[in-house]
């Protein structure tokens, strides 16, 4: 049991590192693509047609992975005024709150997979790519958030998810 726990926590750290690395790559690409659009339009007078759409899909990926990493930092906005006032309720409330979030994300995961399947029939408007690669960000992001939440339940089920501080990377 303890080894399983240690394994889960270790895996959580590795996944978070990978997420941080992927975000660095994606944000770099996002910046480069959008800047290229500005340069080609105003500098060369010959604008790229695909840059805007590509940037949008990259941003969906950045957002979903960023949202997953935010779980480990207790970064998602929430009202903690009341739970701070009633510390006695917190250990009971914490697992309930985590479960609500897990149920919601499970449905995002499920519907995200459905949408991704459907999108395999569609193509991006301005460049040859199946839309499933854009929609895939949804189930992947939801899956990563679920993973971090399950590890959180293993680590300390009675800690409220607004109070998690596992560091940025």
């Amino acid at each position: 049991m303890t080894t399983l726990r240690a394994l889960a926590l270790g895996l959580d750290r590795v996944v978070a590192r990978i997420e941080a690395g992927v975000i660095v790559v994606l944000v770099s690409c996002l910046t480069a693509v959008t800047f290229a659009q500005v340069i080609t339009r105003y500098g060369l007078g010959d604008p790229l047609i695909w840059s805007e759409e590509l940037a949008r899909y990259l941003f969906v990926w950045v957002s979903m992975i960023g949202a997953a990493l935010a779980i480990r930092q207790g970064g998602h906005f929430g009202l903690d005024l009341l739970i701070r006032r009633m510390p006695a309720f917190r250990p009971i409330l914490a697992p309930v709150v985590t479960t609500v979030v897990i149920v919601f994300l499970a449905i995002v995961l499920k519907t995200g997979i459905d949408e991704t399947r459907l999108a395999s029939m569609q193509f991006a408007m301005t460049f040859p790519m199946r839309m499933q690669w854009a929609y895939l960000a949804l189930p992947v992001g939801a899956g990563l958030m679920l993973f971090h939440l399950v590890v959180h339940l293993i680590r300390s089920p009675t800690t409220h998810i607004l109070d998690v501080h596992e560091g940025p990377e």
Binding site: A20, V24, I65, G66, T111
Partner: protein
């Protein structure tokens, strides 16, 4: 519908993060509507995020992160200090003017408060301000600074309501200056009453030097606004230009940005964007439910039945936004209430640019509203003063700012004038 709202309230009270609370409550509502396809959960989230205007958000966050290095805020503060430090109101004036400079670079109010507060509060204490008073002035100034574009609130509002973000940016200037003027007057009265110290007047030579030091930092807002107002860049493009500029200046000219710092900024930007975008995506599910349920139309009909029309609605908006934005950290509160209030505004014929600026103004006040405003706690962390003492100084400033918000609500040309001058906007009903 009622079930959904009740659930949402219960979730929020229990501390479910607002994005998930919105999503889960909307989902419950969906289940109760016969035959509603569950699929829309994923497609509404995707649709909410997939928007080129919203791409300005990560870029302005990143530019702010990169410009937030100590050197830049120090340079901007020095410039403000040689300009207005000797006028009655002293360092209080400096905070306001430095805030205008810094907000012109950064899109986040909390970052503004942290950057200017950390540079200004220590010298203010040395000049005889109490920590509480210094903190209150920084809080009020940061609340004003939300109106100085670029501004994340305006980007989010603009992309959700399909209002031009360039127009909203331009529309923020005059309200920001009126708010600044009101606060400067208030500080002047305070300074006389409290007998606060002033800086010595400096020669133009020293002023020139301070200007030269701040030159590269000051050029950035000029590029951003020149580009947007002149119709050269879209706000998203201006934001990416700001990022490239900040990296170039920070690495080559000021030499304050290391590769390590740059990569960390990228990660922080991704996380902040993720938080904001998930919220927008989940609010988009909630918005669908609101539209289907017809609640906004019913409220609008109710207001029209009372006979108050726009006036009642605008007053009601301020009264609802102020506590709501204070409790729910600004943006989340806004995303929650927009699906209800914006359709009502449209039905009553309220101009959406005007309404957006009003909402932004109120958010600036709410973020620092005692005892819950999230920005207030950033300032308290820097000043080390207690909530009670700080509130004693802050509440009168916030009252002045609320008075300005009411003026903005009833004199819409304050909002229209600048965008009209730049040919960006012609209001339907002046």
């Amino acid at each position: 519908m009622t079930t959904s709202l009740a659930l949402f309230l219960a979730f929020i009270v229990a501390g479910v993060p607002i994005a998930f609370a919105l999503g889960a409550a909307a989902l419950a509502g969906l289940w109760l509507i016969e035959g509603a396809p569950l699929r829309i959960v994923a497609s509404r989230i995707f649709g909410g995020i997939d928007n080129f205007s919203l791409l300005a958000i990560p870029f302005f966050i990143l530019a702010g992160e990169l410009m937030e290095t100590g050197g830049i805020s120090q340079r901007l503060v020095n410039l403000a200090r040689v300009l207005v430090g000797h006028i009655r109101g002293g360092l209080g004036n400096v905070v306001l003017i430095a805030m205008i400079f810094f907000s012109g670079i950064s899109g986040s109010t909390n970052a503004d408060a942290a950057a200017i507060g950390s540079v200004m509060i220590p010298p203010m204490k040395r000049q005889g301000y109490s920590g509480a008073h210094a903190g209150a002035i920084v809080a009020a100034a940061a609340g004003m600074g939300i109106l100085v574009p670029p501004c994340l609130t305006m980007i989010v509002y603009g992309s959700i309501t399909n209002t031009s973000i360039a127009t909203l940016f331009a529309a923020g200037f005059l309200p920001a200056f009126i708010m600044t003027a009101a606060l400067l007057a208030h500080l002047r009265i305070d300074a006389k009453r409290l007998g606060l110290a002033l800086d010595a007047r400096l020669s133009w030579r020293d002023r020139g030097k301070a200007f030269a030091h701040a030159f590269w930092a000051l050029l950035l807002p000029l590029i951003i606004f020149g580009g947007i107002l002149g119709g050269v860049f879209t706000p998203t493009e201006a934001a990416v230009v700001a990022v490239i500029y900040a990296i170039t200046i920070g690495m080559l000219v000021y030499r304050e940005i290391s590769v390590r710092f740059l990569l960390r900024s990228f990660v922080r930007t991704g996380v902040t964007s993720g938080i904001v975008m998930l919220l927008i995506g989940c609010a988009n599910i909630f918005a669908w439910l609101m539209t289907v349920s017809g609640v906004p139309a019913a409220i609008a009909a109710g207001i029209q039945a009372i006979g108050g029309g726009k006036t009642v609605f605008l007053v009601m908006s301020i009264a609802v936004f102020l506590p709501l934005f204070a409790l729910l950290d600004g943006l989340p509160g806004m995303l929650m209430i927009m699906p209800v209030f914006v359709p009502i505004a449209q039905q009553l014929g309220v101009d959406l640019v005007h309404y957006g600026i009003l909402m932004t103004t109120v958010m600036g006040i709410a973020l620092f509203l005692p005892p819950v405003g999230v920005g207030l706690y950033i300032v308290l962390g820097l000043s080390g003063a207690s909530l009670g003492e700080t509130s004693h100084y802050l509440v009168p400033y916030l009252a002045t700012m609320t008075a300005v918000a009411v003026v903005i609500a009833f004199v819409p040309w304050i909002v229209y004038l600048v965008p009209y001058m730049f040919g960006l906007y012609t209001p339907l009903s002046p």
